[in-house]
């Protein structure tokens, strides 16, 4: 493996070619917030919390560090005034949808006492960890996204898919919003007995 030199927050960092900025930063002990990232899964780039500023020959750009591969001599800033503002805004937008777990921690970090936007009820914020874990690690594709835009949600595509669920429950602890557990159980409501096993309490 070829090793690459780059600079993250003023620190000289070595990383292997093909790894991402997020991995390089974390290895160097620099924390970048994420909500939709999991090392076992392919980069998704949806939550946009991991945006960092890269500087290539004076041209500055914001990129998602979870997906951007390291480059020789790249200068990366993970915390600037602009980035903090962006993260704060994203957390505030998500806070209107859900308040649990990692979001609370982030809200505290960015000094937010709730959101100026009004949400309906604490709900899923579509990080997709459950869907992608089932597809990529378990190779099962039991759940999927349906709908688009603000109508997007996680669901079982069909009774057939649901009845194929191995009930491993490994997706449940992945959920940062806490919405998946109830959605998961709700998915089994009204399912006929003979359609297969269902998750216990």
């Amino acid at each position: 493996m070829e090793t690459i030199q780059l600079e993250i927050d003023g620190k000289k960092v070595e990383a292997e070619r093909g790894t991402t900025l997020l991995q390089a930063a974390r290895k160097a002990g620099i924390e970048i917030p994420t909500l939709c990232h999991d090392d076992r899964l392919a980069p998704f780039g949806a939550c946009r919390l991991c945006l960092v500023e890269i500087d290539r020959g004076g041209r500055k750009r914001l990129v998602a560090s979870c997906a951007y591969e390291v480059e020789d001599g790249l200068v990366v800033k993970t915390v600037t005034e602009k980035i903090v503002k962006i993260r704060r805004m994203i957390v505030e937008l998500l806070l209107a949808e859900a308040t649990t777990g990692p979001l609370e921690v982030l809200a505290e970090k960015y000094g937010l006492k709730g959101s100026r936007f009004k949400g309906d009820e604490p709900a899923c914020f579509l990080c997709g960890l459950c869907v992608r874990y089932c597809a990529e690690v378990k190779k099962k594709d039991i759940t999927c996204f349906i709908g688009r835009g603000i109508g997007r949600e996680v669901a079982f595509p069909s009774d057939l898919a649901r009845s194929a669920c191995p009930l491993c429950r490994e997706c449940l602890p992945l959920c940062p919003s806490g919405a998946w557990y109830s959605l998961y159980l709700k998915g089994y409501e009204g399912m006929p007995e003979e359609a297969g096993p269902r998750p216990g309490a």
């Binding site: 914001l62 996204f145 688009r148 835009g149 603000i150």
Partner: protein, 727 residues
């Protein structure tokens, strides 16, 4: 140069010519009927059937019905063209069944054009000849203008009147092929379709003496090669909507039968492909495209040559080429029209692209809502396969390439290239992070080039006429023309193809004819739902990718929606934000949540419930979307709001602080009342009120019950005494 390939192409062309002349015999009268979706919707199918019956009952074998695509003159369809041999072609507008009977009996059979049905009222003069003189505005050839004035002078001096000749100034950038340094003038003489090139007064005299007065065309002054715009100008050059346009991408639309390979060959089609294959130099093709400064017509404006180069230099193996025909912008129909009017040129562009990057397979990604376009592409692909233009060993060159069609299921986001790739792969249509770019890792992980329909349609002509000619037509930074779909509050809605760098004023006011009912032109929204609004004060902006970006909008795929004084900019911004919120794939936070919240705020403002900090909030959310969204769709979705905030901030402020809609458009902020001193009690308002909230006895002043009024504005429109007040 592989002569065998060219020879094989020549025999194919001859075969085509024979097939064509069997259908349209020389000396026939041709009846052209538009056959695109838009024409059919306007009734072209019935018209065609009616003509068929008339021809059958006349028993004449020399009258031929000819299907063509659409010309892009939308508001006046169906359009019918009558081409009698040796006479100037005549086009008719909004032809009905009764119109068919009159046109057939008076004009087709007896040579008397039906004056009141003629398209845009042209050709009322009874002159024997018509001269379309290029003003040279496109290329800055000032000599042309002087020559035109001198021709008019001389005609007057010689006493050659309107009965003999009519002179019209036009712009045809595509006519003087590659002759940027020529100081002289070009004009087209109809009938006969002779293109003259004149440089001196002596030339003008000779033309008058020999051609106009003695009916002997001056062969030495006539341009021998046929420029690509000539067919179009012969047919439509007398119509002001068309004669300021430069039809390059749309060169065959409305002229040839889109289902006929022989006609496409006859119009010079596939000559570029044959030459490219004979030369066998993919790098040469890419170099030519790079030199032409052709930029992606789908909206991004990425240089096509560079894109192809990137895919070409990726190491071997399988590569793909995709035509993006997932046209989803509201009010845009460039791609549909091109695919329905001239599918072969897009196919030819794709085959050349496949050869240049080293692909052996390509895909048309077409939205399923375009059944006729799909049918025409299928037909084109089948015809090409049958004649060795697609499939194994094309024209005996050893190059094998084939195309397939994939249908889009109606998601706007699938026009984004990574989402489009997912859709073809059978995955959920949502964008992914770039890099890697599709030219490195695209469809099924292979290097893939995705270009828009219009980009491909331009490729064959660039290779035919050369990069310099193409570059010369456009602006400094981008070559060629752009097709715009002109819609909204404009008199002549339709497709407009003009050189890049043409001003908004020329497109909207001159070609488009300005706003209907004499209303004031207020703004234009460009580039589809993610484009911004440009105020009328900037009408002299030269339209180019970079000038539009600097104005806070985008070229997009070429939508242009014109707004007049009655349009509320906040309401417009809300409409487009609603579209983006609905069509966002919902994957990334800024686009999904940002569009939802921005829409909430805009709805609040137009409902008269705006808050002091709403403008600041909109701006912050808009910038967040612009800076941090995952794909181009999300990054551009806030443009309508950000640009109207930039140019029409006072309208937002009026809604929020004064609870007033300056354009009187937002229902919640408008009140209708009846002025008792003006009301004569005619009861028209009460009879038309759908809410039954207007009361009053006949011949007595009426009154509106504001509680029950739904603010539809019908009373305001029907009152003939100006008694209904709106404020």
């Amino acid at each position: 140069m592989n002569k065998k390939i060219l020879k094989r192409f020549d025999s194919l062309r001859l075969e085509g010519e024979k097939a064509r002349s069997n259908v349209i015999r020389p000396g026939s009268t041709i009846i052209q009927v538009g056959s695109a979706t838009c024409e059919n919707a306007a009734g072209a199918r019935e018209i065609r059937e009616e003509f068929r019956k008339h021809i059958a009952s006349s028993g004449r074998a020399d009258i031929v019905l000819h299907d063509v695509g659409c010309t892009g003159r939308c508001s006046l369809e169906p359009i019918v063209g009558i081409l009698r041999p040796g006479e100037r072609p005549v086009k008719y507008q909004q032809v009905s069944r009764e119109g068919v009977h009159r046109i057939f009996t008076d004009h087709v059979l007896h040579g008397q054009p039906v004056a009141e049905l003629i398209l845009d009222g042209t050709q009322k003069s009874g002159s024997r000849y018509e001269i379309l003189f290029c003003r040279g505005e496109r290329c800055g050839n000032l000599a042309a203008r002087g020559l035109q004035a001198r021709l008019r002078e001389r005609l007057e001096q010689r006493g050659v009147g309107a009965d003999v000749v009519a002179v019209q100034g036009v712009n045809f950038a595509d006519m003087c092929v590659g002759e940027s340094k020529f100081q002289g003038g070009h004009f087209l003489v109809r009938p006969g379709n002779h293109l003259y090139r004149v440089a001196s007064d002596a030339d003008l005299e000779r033309f008058i003496d020999e051609h106009l007065l003695a009916d002997r065309p001056v062969q030495e002054l006539i341009v021998q090669e046929q420029p690509i715009g000539q067919n179009f100008f012969e047919l439509y050059g007398d119509i002001s909507f068309f004669n300021r346009q430069s039809r390059i991408a749309l060169r065959n639309s409305g002229i040839i039968d889109p289902t006929s390979l022989p006609e496409y060959l006859n119009a010079g089609g596939f000559h570029s492909l044959a030459r490219v294959l004979a030369a066998g130099d993919p790098d040469g093709v890419i170099a030519e495209l790079s030199a032409s400064k052709l930029r992606g017509r789908g909206g991004g404006g990425f240089p096509t040559g560079s894109k192809w180069q990137m895919a070409r230099k990726e190491p071997g193996g399988e590569k793909y080429i995709i035509c993006n025909a997932d046209e989803g912008d509201p009010g845009a129909f460039m791609d549909r029209s091109m695919l329905e009017g001239d599918p072969f040129s897009v196919v030819e562009g794709m085959i050349i692209g496949g050869f240049a990057i080293g692909a052996s397979r390509g895909f048309f990604y077409v939205r399923a809502e375009y059944p006729l376009a799909i049918e025409r592409i299928e037909n084109a692909l089948a015809a090409c396969r049958k004649h060795g233009l697609l499939g194994e060993d094309i024209l005996g060159s050893g190059f094998s390439f084939d195309l397939e069609i994939r249908l889009g299921a109606g998601a706007f986001v699938c026009g984004e290239e990574t989402a489009l790739i997912h859709s073809i792969e059978g995955e959920r249509g949502q964008p992914r992070i770039r890099p890697p770019y599709p030219s490195q890792s695209g469809l099924w992980g292979k290097p893939t080039v995705i270009n828009n329909v219009e980009t491909f349609a331009n490729v064959p002509v660039i290779l035919e006429h050369g990069a310099e000619w193409f570059r010369h037509i456009g602006s400094d930074k981008s070559g060629g023309t752009k097709v715009f779909a002109l819609a909204g509050k404009v008199n002549h809605t339709g497709l407009v193809e003009v050189p890049i760098g043409t001003t908004l004023r020329e497109i909207i006011m001159e070609i488009g004819g300005g706003c209907p009912k004499g209303k004031r032109f207020k703004a234009v929204q460009t580039g589809g739902p993610a484009g911004g609004c440009i105020p009328a004060t900037h009408a002299d902006l030269a339209v180019d990718y970079d000038t539009l970006t600097a104005m806070g909008t985008i070229m997009g795929s070429g939508g242009m929606i014109v707004m007049d004084e009655d349009d509320c900019m906040v309401d417009i911004a809300k409409f487009f934000m609603k579209f983006s919120a609905d069509e966002s794939c919902g994957k990334c936070t800024p686009c999904r949540e940002g569009s939802k919240r921005m829409l909430e705020i805009l709805e609040r403002i137009t409902a008269g419930e705006g808050r002091e900090d709403d403008i600041a909030k909109l701006e912050r959310l808009g910038l967040l979307m612009k800076r941090t969204s995952l794909c181009g769709l999300g990054r551009a979705a806030a443009n309508p709001v950000l640009s109207t905030l930039r140019h029409y901030r006072e309208e937002y402020a009026a809604h929020i602080t004064e609870h007033r809609c300056p354009a009187k458009r937002c229902a919640a902020l408008v009140r209708y009342s009846i002025l008792a001193d003006k009301c004569v009690g005619c009861t028209a308002c009460a009879r038309n009120c759908p809410a039954n909230c207007i009361a009053g006895a006949a011949k007595k002043p009426h009154a509106i019950d504001p509680e029950r009024c739904i603010k539809c504005g019908r009373c305001f429109r029907v009152c003939r005494f100006g008694a209904v007040e709106r404020n």
